[in-house]
Symmetry: none
Subunit: 249 residues, 2 copies
């Protein structure tokens, strides 16, 4: 899918730039505020900042690649022949999605053994999910895309079900003041994650052309801001609430 107009090029460029700014701001906010939470929650806040830091780097690379893929000649948009490198998203996800799961597990403050086993199991499933998605993403054949999509949906659903089940069962052990935020984080996780497999199937459903290509880039950018920067700030807010509740206990 290629874009064709200057407006499509600019809208997408601007969303990439917005994402770079949001990820950079979230990273600075999270790392500067590590000392605002009590010691057991600092790792959750550090890892949240790590996720936005890695995404900052990849959106910068995505921006540069976008600018190398198109140029404006005589008032019209022309593809330069250097392909836009969509793979940066997958390289980003294979690092950040397991870490997103880890930040959520860390802020729950489960027992040590459970934290490690859950992080390893769900982290590996997340990496598998991304690895299965990539061969489908780079294929133009609808059948191949559906096969890899279906394979990636298995670890995806497993993760969502286990995370939400685990969150629900541990939520009674969480301080009352943090329950609303933890519920919010759960719904944000489902909503933002659900976006990716939907965008993936758009070309298989006949949504093609340059307008759809713009929607896909803008959509992925918004989903990444919500799933990483907004989610990270929510993790920080939960860590603050839990630090306060435990200080008074």
């Amino acid at each position: 899918m290629n874009i064709t107009t200057i407006e499509q090029f600019q809208i997408t460029s601007n969303f990439f730039s917005l994402t770079v700014a949001a990820m950079g701001a979230a990273t600075a906010f999270l790392w500067l505020n590590r000392s605002a939470v009590s010691a057991p929650y600092r790792m959750a806040v550090t890892v949240s900042g790590l996720v936005t830091f890695i995404a900052l780097y990849h959106y910068f690379k995505i921006s540069v690649s976008w600018n190398e893929a198109y140029k404006i000649v005589d008032g019209a948009l022309v593809a330069t022949g250097t392909p836009f490198n969509d793979a940066y998203r997958y390289v980003d996800w294979i690092l950040t999605v397991p870490l997103l799961i880890v930040e959520l597990i860390l802020v729950m403050r489960l027992g040590k053994a459970e934290t490690v086993s859950k992080s390893v199991r769900l982290g590996i499933l997340a990496a598998l999910m991304i690895a299965f998605g990539y061969p489908g993403e780079v294929s133009a054949d609808a059948g191949t895309r559906w096969m890899w999509w279906a394979l990636a949906m298995i670890p995806f659903l497993w993760i969502v079900i286990e995370l939400l089940g685990g969150l629900k069962s541990s939520i009674d052990k969480q301080p009352a003041s943090a329950r609303g935020l933890i519920n919010g984080a759960s719904y944000l996780l489902i909503l933002s994650w659900a976006f990716y497999p939907v965008v993936f199937v758009l070309p298989m459903l006949g949504v093609e052309g340059s307008t759809a290509a713009t929607y896909v880039q803008v959509g992925y950018s918004i989903a990444d801001i919500v799933a990483k920067a907004v989610f990270g700030v929510l993790i920080f807010a939960i860590a603050v609430k839990k630090s306060e509740a435990e200080a008074h206990a």
Copy 2:
């Protein structure tokens, strides 16, 4: 060995970019978490971050050099004539490999005299190993490559034997909770280090051509991520375990 297709160019580019991201993330993680370990282990964690920081810089330079060596013209990959600078790897290794040994010695927390003598002796051997490897790497003659390879293997085996022997004999003095991780670090060290001399001999064994060239670049990238970023996080985990064990002692 040169690559010939756009796919080979892109796969290698993506692995270089992944390595930059992984080294940057590891550096931030290690330096932000220095205070999570007790004072005697902070230097080990700082040096671990130094190793990934130096590698971050070199993989950035490697990426730039890779992009200067090839361009896409009319949908085909063309060598620009500017050679890809493989020497960045050796410059990186001559700085980081002695430091990798130092981080492992520091986390063992041996006596002061032993720490210094072991670091100096094994650090010099590591620098020799890299210095011997380089004249072989830049030679196209199989005989010359074998000679330098054999010379580099002497300090290599000396280091591996001394490190593993030293680790084994000191492991009984380590807290029980950290022994599993220290064993893990030993095996990770052997496995990741063993990769380099094997990649080096590939062209002498007749494994040539553009596919092999891609494997070599991707392989070195993965080996560097494991030997530096993953190893650094393992050193940090050992430092945390030992800090905890000693606080309760």
